[in-house]
């Protein structure tokens, strides 16, 4: 049971509270943690809200984007400079939840949720983390795999904004809106001289965490970005994926449609 909810206005104070408490957790948007607290015995006694830490905000310098950890998905989706990524945000949950949920929180959503994390993985985003020993940076691939230490706080995310022609995103859902993913595909694919020069493809719904599909990426490089070569490359997804069963779909079904959705995401029908 909770015996303390702190709303510090200073990052160091937040880190201190977190380090000093027996069973503490960070509360950002609350859309992942509060359902647990409301319905289960979590063992948590302290919540440290990031709300007043001034970690929200978006800055863009050239193509380099820095987003504060507590920026809401709603604020992300409204930023005209990030319009290219608006479909990612709008594919997540519903407006009232996006008004609360934070960008950093999405990195910790269990699959098949966490579509923004999938997109950030395709963008090779970097995560800025503050801890008792100071600040560090880590690639988003590491964070979605290992998380952060209990006494650390994610403070920001940075990534390079792709150009429109090289960015692909498609989330397949059981409902048109407000649904977790069957398969979520986010990709940055650069084409030069009629062939793929580089490909960075991330999937949601394809494993226990957002993952990249290096076998597919490798098979695509040097090939034209057309239905035939994408179909051939997508067929190699199994080497990199661990499709799972949940209430939405079975592993069998996800395995069956992952290559279809990779193809549809990259070259349409």
């Amino acid at each position: 049971m909770l015996d303390r909810v702190d709303v510090p206005s200073d990052l160091n104070a937040a880190l201190e509270t977190l380090a000093g408490c027996r069973a503490g957790a960070i509360l950002s948007g609350g859309t992942l943690l509060m359902p647990e607290i409301n319905t289960r015995a979590t063992g948590l006694t302290t919540l440290v809200s990031l709300k007043k830490l001034d970690l929200a905000g978006i800055s863009v310098s050239g193509t380099r984007v820095t987003i504060g950890a507590t920026t809401t998905l709603d604020a992300f989706g409204r930023d005209e400079r990030l319009a290219l990524l608006k479909p990612v945000v709008e594919s997540i949950a519903s407006p009232p939840v996006r008004n609360m949920a934070s960008v950093a929180g999405n990195l910790f959503a269990a699959q098949p949720y966490g579509d923004l994390a999938v997109a950030l993985l395709a963008l090779d985003a970097e995560v800025e983390i503050a801890g008792p020993k100071g600040k560090r940076q880590a690639p988003v691939s590491e964070i979605v795999k290992k998380g952060v230490a209990a006494d650390e706080i994610v403070t920001a995310l940075t990534f390079d904004l792709p150009d429109g022609g090289s960015w692909f995103y498609a989330k397949t859902m059981r409902r048109n809106t407000n649904s977790a993913a069957i398969v979520c595909v986010a990709a940055r694919v650069q084409v030069e001289g009629g062939v793929v020069k580089s490909a960075s493809i991330a999937l949601g719904g394809a494993g226990p965490r957002p993952l990249r599909v290096p076998s597919v990426e490798a098979a695509l490089v040097g090939k034209p970005l057309d239905a035939e070569s994408v179909t051939a490359a997508a067929a190699k997804f199994e080497a990199d994926c661990e499709p799972f069963t949940d209430a939405y779909a079975s592993a069998w079904y996800r395995t069956r449609v992952i290559p279809v959705h990779i193809r549809r995401a990259l070259v349409g029908a």
């Binding site: 949950a93 519903s94 009232p96």
Partner: protein, 164 residues
């Protein structure tokens, strides 16, 4: 266990409440302020019945520890009901036979209020997106969508008249 005083501006009225750690906003509204128009249908944010408007944004009041919204401005269904009558959204739900059991209505209304405040001329698609997280088990949604659109049109008309 340290209780705290939280100050809120609820439907225009300043309120001070003493909350135990982790008390959610829905609990403050319903159990302490006895504003029971806001409903509890889950405690995980997935039903939408507890939606209220906090500082201009529709949110789930069941997912908000009261300490984190100290000094916020909160609007509930009680706050959109004019004295002695109905607001345009409420009227449209009644006239359009868009209410059955009624349990989702408050949440729907608050989400729709926030939508129209921001987008006075929402398309059906905009409305469907806005209420996509609010479960209605009775109506099949279409009468609600229609009612929100009708209300928005009426509100635009009223604004135009006011402007003229």
């Amino acid at each position: 266990m340290a209780s705290r005083i939280v100050t809120l501006l609820v439907n225009g009225t300043p309120q001070e409440v003493i909350v135990r750690p982790g008390t959610t906003l829905v609990s403050v509204l319903r159990d302490q302020l006895e504003l029971t128009g806001t409903k509890r249908g889950c405690a995980d944010g997935s039903c939408g019945a507890c939606s209220v408007v906090v500082d201009g944004k529709a949110v789930r009041s069941c997912l908000i520890p009261a300490e984190t919204v100290d000094e916020a401005e909160v609007t509930t269904v009680e706050g959109i009901t004019p004295v002695g009558g109905l607001g345009p959204l409420q009227e449209a739900l009644v006239e359009g036979f868009a209410t059955q059991c009624g349990f989702c209505n408050s949440g729907m209304l608050m989400v729709a209020t926030a939508l129209i405040a921001e987008n006075p001329d929402p398309s059906d698609a905009d409305i469907m997106r806005a209420i996509s997280g609010n479960v209605c088990r009775c109506t099949g949604y279409h009468p609600i969508i229609r009612a929100i659109r009708d209300a928005a049109a009426k509100m635009r008309g009223a604004q135009q008249i006011a402007a003229e």
